[in-house]
């Protein structure tokens, strides 16, 4: 208390420069002076002469509703809201002025961004040492930089999508994709050589995905893709054309027995246990195969449709088998409803 009584308080204009948001409150709790910036917050009303606790509500520390309780809140951080509009949330600290009253210094805290636009404040409204201007500068500069980065990200995202649309590779398995398949088929048809198309659909894959999750499903697809590559020749093209659908194009096939063997090898390989985190994933494969003799005039769409019809037939026969396309299959396919197994195919 000795220190306080000896304290020589600075003149008011000094406080205006150092703390433009200060208030002087007399022993009765009335505001006897307000700094220039705090006056700007309520230009239509005079703060001077008003009871401090009428003009400001102290939200923290709690329970400050009387002058006596206010006096006890020296040197602690105060959270205040100012009466009137627009709402103003302020921070403050209070020190005794040595004459029975107190000086409260206020600041906007985090509400500074709202405050500068609500009250049209300028650099001159802040003390020269106040970091408010630097903070506003940083917010604006960082927002501009962030916006530039965001635009770059959007452009890169667009470029990525465009590149993927032009890609020929399925990113999950590394196999060719639908575009690669279409291009290969067009080339085969145009060159008028004998070739075969196997349309392969995994059996029970949906069960793996549903019970063990997508990570397990992805793992299975990768293992299956590798198996197909290993069971076919280097000159054969393997493509993943849907969720669990694959197509193999085999150029230069002279014997249907070869196709029989390749198809069976693929089914056998796919039926070998695949482990994901020590859990066995049991799947199989149904195959529909079209063997195109040389010089057959046919469109890509028809080849794929024929393979699809043969695949239908394999599913209908109870899965895990290969069926070769014949024109009779097409006729019966038109009269038979899709087997239940078709429902599990993802597009």
């Amino acid at each position: 208390m000795k220190v306080v009584s000896k304290l020589q308080m600075p003149a008011c204009d000094v406080l205006d420069v150092l703390c433009p948001m200060h208030l002087q409150i007399d022993a009765q709790g009335l505001i006897c002076r307000a700094g220039p910036t705090i006056r700007k917050l309520r230009p239509d009303v005079s703060l001077t002469g008003r009871a401090f606790l009428d003009a400001f509500a102290v939200s923290r520390p709690r329970g400050i509703t009387t002058i006596d309780s206010l006096w006890k809140a020296e040197n602690v951080k105060l959270h205040l809201s100012m009466a009137g509009q627009p709402p103003a949330q302020l921070k403050g600290v209070m020190v005794p002025d040595g004459k029975g009253g107190v000086i409260v210094n206020l600041s906007f805290g985090i509400s500074i961004l709202q405050a500068v636009s609500d009250y049209a404040l300028t650099n001159a409204d802040f003390a020269a040492t106040d970091l408010a201007i630097e903070m506003l500068y940083l917010v604006e500069a960082k927002s501009a930089a962030m916006e530039a980065s965001r635009k770059l990200n959007l452009r890169l995202q667009g470029a990525k999508v465009a590149a993927e649309e032009q890609a020929f590779t399925d990113t999950l398995t590394g196999l060719g994709n639908r575009r690669a398949l279409d291009q290969t088929l067009e080339r085969m048809i145009a060159s008028e050589v004998a070739f075969a198309v196997m349309h392969i659909d995994l059996d029970y894959f949906k069960v793996v995905n549903d019970t063990l999750g997508h990570a397990a499903g992805d793992h299975v697809l990768q293992v299956v893709a590798r198996a197909m590559i290993e069971e076919t020749r280097a000159s054969d093209i393997v493509a993943r054309v849907g969720g669990d659908e694959f197509t193999v194009v085999l150029p230069d096939v002279r014997d249907i027995d070869i196709l029989e063997r390749v198809g069976q090898r693929i089914i056998d390989r796919i039926e070998m246990p695949i482990f994901f985190n020590d859990t066995e994933c049991k799947i199989s494969a149904s195959i529909g195969t079209v063997w195109m003799q040389a010089s057959t005039a046919i469109s890509r769409e028809t080849v794929l449709e024929d393979a699809d019809i043969a695949l239908y037939a394999s599913k209908h026969k109870g899965r895990a088998c290969q069926t070769f396309y014949t024109p009779e299959l097409r006729a019966s396919a038109n009269s038979v409803k899709p087997p239940i197994g078709r429902g599990e195919r993802k597009v």
């Binding site: 961004l113 405050a115 500068v116 636009s117 609500d118 049209a120 404040l121 300028t122 650099n123 001159a124 201007i133 630097e134 506003l136 500068y137 940083l138 604006e140 500069a141 960082k142 927002s143 501009a144 930089a145 916006e147 530039a148 980065s149 635009k151 770059l152 452009r155």
Partner: protein
């Protein structure tokens, strides 16, 4: 060289002379894609090459082009953010001049890999100042003259500027502040965001 600097140069060319003019410059000086990305980094040699190409395409001396770029940076509606960020530096033109020393640090605070040339303000008698620009980019002093001319207007100050030459990599711009409150200038509200 930061993409922000190269992109600003590109924007100046596109906004002042059209995209075709820029493509002519890019064909001479930019090896690959003609558009600079503001948030990527590029080879340091690109900026001088682009500026030389601009001088050649426009048939104007490089110093003139640089001063024009400086003017563009703080006066074009598209670059309002730059003007605002500079105005944070001071309440009046003198205050602003004194804030220029901090400009590289302020820029780095916002974009950590953006390195602006070092600038030093020296104050003499009677409202005379000299601005020392230490930049690897020749004629950077002219760019600063463009910036200062617009900013003096912006603050409503009347100032005379002249480029006092380059020696050992440093350029000096002389500033004579004639009247601090010559005109009203443009308003600057802290809360009026440019974005």
């Amino acid at each position: 060289m930061h993409g922000l600097i190269l992109r600003s140069i590109q924007n100046y060319m596109c906004d002042s002379y059209g995209r075709n003019a820029w493509l002519q410059v890019a064909a001479r000086a930019v090896p690959e894609h003609p558009d600079f990305e503001a948030m990527l980094s590029y080879d340091d040699a690109l900026a001088p090459a682009v500026l030389d190409a601009m001088g050649a395409v426009l048939g104007r001396p490089r110093s003139e082009v640089m001063e024009d770029i400086g003017t563009y940076l703080v006066s074009h509606p598209k670059t309002e953010a730059v003007r605002r960020l500079l105005r944070f530096g001071g309440v009046n033109f003198e205050d602003f001049l004194h804030s220029l020393d901090d400009m590289p640090d302020r820029a780095r605070m916002a974009v950590s890999d953006l390195h602006l040339p070092a600038i030093e303000l020296h104050e003499h008698d009677d409202g005379r100042y000299s601005l020392i620009c230490d930049s690897p980019l020749a004629d950077f002093g002219y760019l600063m003259m463009g910036v200062l001319r617009v900013m003096a207007d912006d603050y409503g100050a009347l100032a005379l500027l002249d480029h006092a030459g380059r020696s050992s990599g440093r350029e000096t711009v002389n500033i004579q502040l004639i009247e601090r409150d010559y005109a009203d200038g443009r308003t600057f509200e802290l809360g009026a965001r440019a974005l």
